[in-house]
C-alpha cells in the first residue's frame, strides 16, 4: 500500500491543479460575454454560468454567511450578467473583473437588505458597471453632466458606429488604428463616423427644442 502511495506521487501535481482551478481562467470568457451581449447567445451564457456559478457561490458563502443566500447571489449575479452584458467592454479589462464588480455589487445590496432592511439598491451607483462611464475623463467635474448625456446618446448608437465614436473620442485612436483594429477599410470607419455624428447632432438638437 505504501509503495502505491509513493508511486502515485507524480499524480499529485495534477491533483493540485484540480484543487486550485481558480488559478486558471478560460481565455474565452470575454468572447462568451460579448456573444451574450450581441446575440443573446444561450450557449455562451451556459458556459459562463458553468464557470462562474461555483465560484460566486463560494464568494457568497464567505460574504453572506449561508448557503441559501449564496445561491441567491449566484442567481442575482448571473441574471445581471445576462441582462447587462452590453455594459461590458472587452477593451477596458478582463471579463472576470467585470463579473466581480457585478457580483460584489449584488452581494453589497443583498447584505444591506438583510441588515438595514434597506430596499434601495446602491451597488451599481457606488461601483459603476458601465465601463464606458468609469473612464479617464475624471477631473472635469464641470462637464460631467454634459459628458454623461453625451455617453447616453453614444450608447444608443448602433454597435458598429458606437465603437468608432468611442475609439476616436474616448480612446483617442486614429481612424487608421481603428480600421486595423476592426479589420475594415478606412473608408468604412469614415462613413460610420459620419453617420454616427449626424445621428448625435440630431439627438442633441432634439434635446434643445424640449
Amino acid at each position: 500500500m505504501q509503495t502505491f502511495v509513493s508511486a502515485g506521487a507524480p499524480d499529485k501535481g495534477s491533483a493540485n491543479i484540480n484543487s486550485h482551478p481558480e488559478t486558471q481562467v478560460p481565455p474565452e470568457l470575454s468572447v462568451w460575454l460579448v456573444r451574450v451581449a450581441d446575440a443573446r447567445d444561450k450557449q455562451a451564457f451556459t458556459r459562463l454560468f458553468q464557470f462562474f456559478a461555483p465560484k460566486i457561490k463560494r464568494f457568497g458563502i464567505k460574504q453572506l454567511g449561508n448557503e441559501a443566500q449564496a445561491h441567491e447571489l449566484v442567481q442575482e449575479t448571473m441574471s445581471n450578467v445576462w441582462r447587462k452584458a452590453h455594459l461590458y467592454d472587452g477593451d477596458k479589462g478582463a471579463a472576470t473583473t467585470w463579473v466581480y464588480t457585478v457580483m460584489r455589487n449584488a452581494a453589497f445590496d443583498m447584505l444591506r437588505r438583510v441588515k438595514a432592511k434597506a430596499e434601495m439598491n446602491l451597488g451599481d451607483d457606488i461601483w459603476p458597471i458601465e465601463q464606458v462611464q468609469s473612464e479617464e475623463a475624471l477631473p472635469e467635474f464641470a462637464d460631467h453632466l454634459m459628458e454623461k448625456q453625451m455617453l447616453a446618446y453614444v450608447d444608443s448608437l448602433p454597435e458598429a458606429q458606437r465603437a468608432v465614436v468611442k475609439g476616436v473620442y474616448y480612446q483617442e485612436l486614429s481612424q487608421e488604428q481603428l480600421a486595423q483594429q476592426f479589420g475594415v477599410p478606412i473608408g468604412t470607419i469614415k462613413s460610420r463616423l459620419r453617420l454616427a455624428l449626424a445621428k448625435l447632432k440630431q439627438q442633441m438638437g432634439d434635446q434643445q427644442h424640449d
Binding site: 484540480n18 481558480e22 478560460p26 458553468q50 463560494r58 445576462w82 434601495m120 451607483d125 464641470a142
Partner: protein, 237 residues
Amino acid sequence: MINHHPTSDVLAQFVAGNLPASVSVLVSSHVELCAECARSVQRLTQQAAIDAFGELADETAGDELLVTDMTSELAGEFEFELEDFDECIAAITAEEADDKRQLPQTVTEIAVGGERIALPTALRSIPLKEWQGMGKLSRSRLALDDGDLRMSLLHIDKGGSVPCHTHKGFEITLLLQGSFTDEMGEYRKGDFIWLDGQHTHQPVTEEGCVCLTVSSDAIHFTQGMSQLLNPIGRFIY
C-alpha cells in the same frame, strides 16, 4: 490638485464591499474625482477578481484541460445539481436584456449659494432632505439608512466657519466645491479628510465650500461661547 486621499487599506475594503454604505458612497465620490485613486481601485478590483475567479491561463494551455476542470468542480465540492443549473439558466435566459439606452439621471446637480454643483454619481439614487440653515451654515441630510452613520451635504457660505470642535466618533469630509482651511492645512475640491476624536479643528472658508460628510456621532464644540452650541452639534453634521 488633490492632496488628501483614502488610505490604501480603505480602498481595499471599499473594493471588497466591506465598508458601510455611506462610507462607500463617499469613497466612490472621491474616486470619481481622483484619477490616482481610480487607478488604484481598478488595480485592486483586478486583484480581487483574480482571488475570486482565477487568472487568465497561458494562452497556449490546452482548453480541454480547463473544461474538464470546470466539470469536475461542478460535480465535486459544490452541491449544485446539474439540473438546478439548467433550470436556473433557463429562467435567467428567459429574461429580456435591460434597455441599452441609459436615460440621463434626474438629480445630478444642485444649486447652492447661487452656484450649480454637480453631484457625484454615487448619490444619484439617494434623496436629499430639505436644506436647513443656521448663519452661514446650511445642511441637507441624505435619506440613507446606514445604522448610526449620518450623511449630509454641508454648505458653508463665503467667510463662514464652524466653531472649534472635536468629533466623538469619526467624521469624513469630501470637498465637492470651493476650499477651506483648518489648523492642519488647506483643503480643495476632491480632498478626502478622515478625522476622529483625536482631532480638534476649526474649519474656515474664504470662498465658501460644499462638502459631503459622513459622521458617526455629533460633533462637540470645545471653546468658550460656542460650547453653548453643543446641544445642536447634532444639527451640523
